[in-house]
Symmetry: C2
C-alpha cells in the first residue's frame, strides 16, 4: 500500500489534477495581508465529499478507556474553552511546482492559511474518558468517506498519546468566532497546532485509544516523506519552516505575472514553522541579492509571523524571493527536497515582476 | 482586441490554468444539496487581486446625470432594501471540458452557486441621480485592477439603461445575511439576476451614465460568444438553461469516480435558466435511457430549482446524466456548443458510476 499507484508525471497537468484544484480552494496570495484569513479564503483540502449536517451529531470517545462517552456538540461547548491562532498548511503544498510530480492535489503555493480556532482541549476529554495506561495512540475518525489507494474508508488519523495530550490540541467548534462552516469540519473537528493539516481531522465523530499502532490508509499509506517509491518513509508531522510573499503590484489575468510601477514598494509576507519556535529571520532577495526583512511581532506560538521589506523598484525584469529561518536554525532550501508523493515542499518562493513606468 | 491572444490547446492543462483553478474556488458538487450555498462554498472568479478593505469607501454615481452623488456604505444601507435568492454562474463554466480549449479558468462544471443577496435596487439609486434622458448605458467600475489582453484597467462592465432599471438589479452589501466577504466584493457589489456572473461587478466604486457604447476590455474584448477567432461575436448575457447532478455514493480521491452500493438511490440536483422563466422539466438518463425527474417547488424567478429521481442501482458500470428544459423550451445540448473562448457550455452533465456490493 506504500507504493504509489499513480506514476509521476512531468509537464502539463491531468484533468484529475484540475478537478482537485477546482474543488479544493487555495488561499489567494494577496490574502497574506490578513493576520487571520477571512471565512471562505482559508485553504481547504477535502479528500472525499463534504458530509451533510447531522443535527444529532455525537462525538464518541472509546477504545482503551475506562469511561467511554458520547458527547453532543453542546456538551463539548460546555467544557472549558480555548481560542488559538493557528497557521495550517497542507503537507502537499508546493507539490504542483515539483518535477517530476506526483498526480494529486497540485498546490502551487496557496495551501496555507491562519484562523482563530475555539474549542476544548483534547486533553480534558481524554482525562474524563480515563485512557488506559497501556494505550499508545489516539485515533481520530471523521465521517468523510471514500476510496483512496483502493481502500474504502472514513478519513482517520492517529497521534501518539503524548502528542494528543499537548495542551494546545483542540476539539474545535468555531473558526474566527463563527460556528465551523460545513467544509471546515462542522460541527466538530480536531486542530493540531504545528502539524501539517492532515492531522487536524474534520467532521470528527469518534476518538479511540489503542495500544496497537494505527494502520489506516491515511496514516501509513499516505502522508510520508519518501525519496523512492516503495520505501516505508518518514511520517509527515510538524510543518517545515516556510514563507510566502504577497505578490506586489498588479497581475496579468492569465499569466499572473506581476506588474509594478517604479519607486518605493513595501514588500510584505508571512513566515511560519510548525515546531512551536518563532521565526527569527526572513530574508528577501532582489535578483539574487539577499537582505534582511523587518519582522512583525510574534503572534503566538502557532501563527505565522508577518514581515516587510522596502524595495526601490527600477524599470526592468526582476525576480523577488523570500526565505525564512526559525529559532532552531531550520532554513528553507533553494529547491524542493525530492519527495515521491510531493510532500513538504518548503523551497523558497519566487515572484517574477516587470517594473514599468506604464503603470502608475 | 477581439482576437484571443492565447491559442487553443487540446489535452493536458497548462500551469497557468492550474494556478487560476487554485485561486478561484468552485462549488464542490455535493454542495448542490444546499438550497442556498453556504459561505465559502459559493464559486468565485476574481480576475485580478482581491482589493484591500477601505474604511472610507464611497460609491460615486456620475457621468450623464444631473444629480451626481457619492454615497457611503451606510448611506446605501439606509435606502429601501430587498433580498433576492439568485443563482449565479460563470460564463466560462464548463470551459475545461471543451476540446479544443481556450486557456483561461478551466472550470469543469463547478462555477455555479446560489446566494441570498441583500441590497438596494439600482433603479432607486439611478432615479435619485437623475440619469439624462439621452443616456444609453450604465457603466459599473470595480476597484480590482490588472492587465488583460494587454490592457491595464479596473474591472468594469456596462448594462443598457433598460437592463439597469430592472427592479431586481441590486447594489448589494450582504450575502446570506452577513456582510459581503472580501472576496465577494466587500463592501458593495452589483448583482444582476439572470445574467452570467461577469455582469455582477464586485468592489463597486463608480456608476456612470453614458450615451456612448462602453468599450472596456471586459465588455468588448471578452465575454462574447464567438465561433471563430477574430469575429465580433455575440455578447454573453443571460445564463443558458443548465443543470447538475449531486454525484451519488462515495468518490475515489483522485479520479473522483463515484462508487455506489446496489439498491435504491435518490438522485438529486439543481437546474436553472437565466431568462427569469421557470425550469419546467428535468430528465435523468441511466445509461442513455431518459426519464422525467420530480421537480421541487420554484424558489423565485432567479434561483435554481431542485429535482430528484429514484434509481434502482444494479452492479455494473453506468453513466448517469441530467438535462433541463425551461419554460421557453430551451433545452441543454448533448455536446458543448463550439465557442472560441469557451463561454456558455451548458451541455448535459454526465457522471460515471461503479455500482458494487463491495461498498455498503
Amino acid at each position: 500500500m506504500s507504493n504509489p499507484r499513480r506514476p509521476p508525471i512531468v509537464g502539463r497537468f491531468m484533468q484529475e489534477e484540475v478537478a482537485l484544484a477546482s474543488r479544493n480552494s487555495g488561499m489567494p496570495l494577496e490574502a497574506l495581508r490578513y493576520d487571520v484569513t477571512p471565512a471562505g479564503l482559508h485553504y481547504l483540502l477535502v479528500h472525499f465529499d463534504i458530509p451533510a449536517a447531522d443535527p444529532g451529531w455525537k462525538l464518541s470517545i472509546g477504545g482503551q478507556v475506562s469511561n467511554s462517552r458520547a458527547l453532543s456538540v453542546d456538551e463539548v461547548k460546555a467544557l472549558p474553552q480555548k481560542t488559538l491562532r493557528v497557521t495550517l498548511e497542507c503537507a502537499g503544498n508546493g507539490r504542483g511546482q515539483m518535477s517530476p510530480r506526483y498526480p494529486s492535489m497540485p498546490w502551487l503555493e496557496e495551501g496555507v492559511s491562519t484562523a482563530e480556532w475555539t474549542g476544548t482541549p483534547l486533553a480534558a476529554l481524554l482525562a474524563a474518558a480515563k485512557v488506559d495506561p497501556g494505550a499508545k495512540e489516539i485515533i481520530f475518525r471523521g465521517t468523510d468517506r471514500g476510496i483512496d489507494r483502493g481502500v474504502d474508508h472514513d478519513y482517520a488519523r492517529s497521534l501518539s498519546v503524548a502528542e494528543a495530550m499537548r495542551p494546545d490540541v483542540l476539539v474545535v467548534h468555531s473558526m474566527n468566532g463563527q460556528p465551523l462552516l460545513p467544509q471546515h469540519g462542522a460541527p466538530l473537528r480536531l486542530v493540531v497546532p504545528g502539524w501539517y493539516g492532515m492531522a487536524s481531522v474534520k467532521w470528527l465523530a469518534r476518538i479511540e485509544a489503542t495500544d496497537v499502532p494505527f494502520d489506516g490508509v491515511q496514516q501509513v499509506g499516505s502522508y510520508h516523506f519518501r525519496t523512492q517509491a516503495g520505501e516505508a518513509g518518514v511520517p509527515c508531522t510538524y510543518i517545515r519552516v516556510n514563507s510566502l510573499m504577497a505578490p506586489p503590484g498588479i497581475p496579468d489575468f492569465f499569466t499572473r505575472r506581476r506588474i509594478v510601477a517604479p519607486g518605493r514598494v513595501n514588500l510584505t509576507g508571512r513566515a511560519w514553522s510548525g515546531d512551536g519556535v518563532p521565526i527569527n529571520r526572513v530574508e528577501v532577495s532582489i535578483d539574487g541579492q539577499w537582505r534582511d526583512a523587518k519582522l512583525d511581532p510574534v503572534a503566538g506560538p502557532w501563527a505565522w509571523r508577518g514581515w516587510s521589506c522596502e524595495w526601490e523598484a527600477v524599470p526592468g525584469e526582476v525576480v523577488l524571493a523570500c526565505r525564512a529561518t526559525d529559532a532552531k536554525g531550520n532554513v528553507q532550501p533553494d529547491e524542493p527536497v525530492p519527495d515521491v508523493t510531493g510532500f513538504g515542499n518548503n523551497s523558497i518562493h519566487r515572484v517574477a515582476v516587470t517594473v514599468t513606468g506604464e503603470v502608475g
